[in-house]
Symmetry: C2
DNA sequence: GATGCTTGTGAAAACGATTACCGAGCGTCA
DNA sequence: TGACGCTCGGTAATCGTTTTCACAAGCATC
């Protein structure tokens, strides 16, 4: 491994000059600069980043905290983050926190240790006041979830408005008894979607029945969507539409409906959220709210880069979502010719 | 930020002593050691890792190269890697290479720059001789895919044997015309599964028809599985069973079969591979070969840690796979009561 | 010709840890 | 008693950069 000293010797100048030429603090023109550049190339010189980091006390590493990479929603965001980071010459360090606070704190400790310059948090839960001290001292961006009580920059979609649109869509189809399959987690997205659900009903002058609000387990699992749907659809006055706050819950809900011998969307309409899971693999194709996951990640990283550079950045970015109406709701006419399953004989 | 000097001052000793106590090179008992420990705690001292890395010329970072985190198969492996790394105090850098060689080389450059101590490669393609120089100089482990021509340690399942088992299963059900939906990629797993397919047929004295071997696109997409199935099942003597080298291909194949008005498994049996995609969400549940993804990742990381420590490690680890028979093949009696879709009217 | 300003360069001081080397103290044994 | 070995702890070198500071040269101005 050639060091800067070797390059200086080969170029016949001091290390200071080498450093300056290589870092662009001097014109790269001129005889001496050329000698330096040639020597560096000839020796295949690459700066030692530990030394540079030590001297400059920075790391060019950013922390990514997410509950679980296995969840494709986060994986898509991650890939946006990764691309942006790569383009800006930053590396990222990934931590699957499983939403466990001790893990989160452990990895945020890297900020303190100067092993990382900033962080992107993917699944901040409400009530994360413990984050404040970190947010005050280090550049941090929240991605897709955020806690309004902790004033940290964030990028997300407008979950509230999206929920209103879903409800408009369902009510526009004539549905009056609409259930929601929510989740036990403490995400802002969950709270906002449920709030949108309630407000939309109230605004339309429809009753908000607590019976129609079902909380699946925190992990958005298929099974919990299934169970929730079975329980909602077994009510005496069963809902004719289900708004599920995630696609997997929705897919589970469709399976649950079938289990009860109900046709989707004939007997019950189902809407999901995210449009990232296999929403168009199986019939009926899922009506869902699409989020620009990749871009959410990409923008979050750019925001962080801005913060790292000491720039003033907007505290909040909302990216456009999109309600895509497919077969599991509406499109009633069309679905007649589609491969909509008949109830099983079980 | 407290430094080691501050701790030394507070404890009334030299920095050497502080370093030794904190690194366990001296007994932690005794009056002086206690003073050091107390001082470190009081000052909230955390060693600066850039300084440590510079001095020890190591980074405690390992590189993870994979084509795409968005693919749940890789995501599961990654989570095993992450857990093991975390336990051993290593960080990992993730790079979505998209199988593009320039990206792979760019990130492996971090080894040269001493920004990383080793690497785990997730999707080495056959013909990766360019990897040799890296493998000779740095600790590298291949995970799930490997190139037999480059002698690098690797962990995977026994793809060949798994393919034989799949074929045994299908032939045991009486199938004689079996097609395979393979892929255009250059992975060893693909080659081995196809070889298993051929060998099994030959061994059973059945003809190997090139018409029955279909190569879907490199990315294992749903659509390419669909298209491949449509083309295979449109043959005059259509196969009665399809072995798909990935679950998503298999799900696509099932959809394709339905498109043609064929019943799965009544008219055509379908088997997948991986058991990671939603194999039990939709009817018919998918028969597939399960891989212990999490453990593959975990073991790969442990192997790398061994290599980093200069230990002798096995060059190859094969973890057990498991063929899980579900509805999409066999279990014919049961499937009669299941929600198997009737052909659509399209 | 003295002065001030700009520009380019080198010497050397950081950055914060680990560790080679050395000397002091102590116990043991011939 | 003296030689020897062992442990313990301090001093200082070291890792490879970046950056401050000082100096010298070149040039214009008075």
């Amino acid at each position: 491994m050639a060091t800067i000293v070797d390059v200086a010797k080969a170029a016949g100048c001091s290390v200071a000059t080498v450093s300056r030429v290589l870092n662009g603090k001097r014109a790269k023109e001129g005889e001496l600069a050329r000698r330096v550049l040639d020597a560096a190339r000839a020796l295949d010189y690459v700066p030692n980043s530990a030394a540079r980091n030590l001297r400059k006390s920075e790391s060019r590493v950013i922390l990514i905290l997410l509950p679980n990479v296995t969840n494709p929603y986060y994986a898509h965001i991650l890939s946006g983050i990764g691309d942006s980071a790569y383009q800006h010459g930053y590396s990222h360090f990934l931590c699957n926190t499983g939403n466990r606070r001790e893990r989160e704190e452990a990895v945020l400790g890297r900020l303190t240790r100067r092993q990382a310059d900033g962080a992107i948090l993917m699944a901040t839960e409400l009530g994360s006041a413990w984050l404040k001290p970190y947010a005050e001292r280090y550049p941090i961006v929240q991605c897709s979830e955020f806690d309004p009580e902790v004033d940290i920059a964030h990028v997300s979609v407008d979950n509230y408005r999206a929920a209103l649109e879903v409800m408009d869509h369902l009510m526009g189809l004539g549905h009056r008894r609409i259930g929601i399959i929510s989740s036990e987690n403490r995400y802002s997205s969950t709270a906002l979607r449920v709030k949108g659900y309630r407000d939309a009903l109230e605004h339309a002058g429809l009753p908000v029945s607590e019976d129609y609000i079902c909380r699946a387990d925190a992990g958005y699992s298929f099974k919990s969507g299934f169970d929730a749907a079975v329980s909602l659809l077994s009510l005496d006055e069963r809902p004719t539409a289900l708004f599920c706050i995630s696609d997997v819950l929705a897919l589970g809900a469709i399976a649950g409906a079938r289990e009860l011998g109900l046709n989707v969307p004939g007997d019950v309409a189902v809407v999901g959220f995210d449009d990232v899971e296999h929403t168009t693999m199986f019939r009926p194709y899922l009506t869902t709210v699409g989020q620009p996951c990749y871009e959410i990640g990409y923008r979050a990283m750019e925001m962080l880069i801005g913060l790292l550079g000491g720039e003033e950045v907007p505290r909040q970015i909302q990216l456009p979502h999109r309600l895509t109406v497919r077969e599991s709701s509406g499109l009633r006419r069309h679905t007649l010719d589609l491969t909509v399953e008949r109830p099983s004989s079980q």
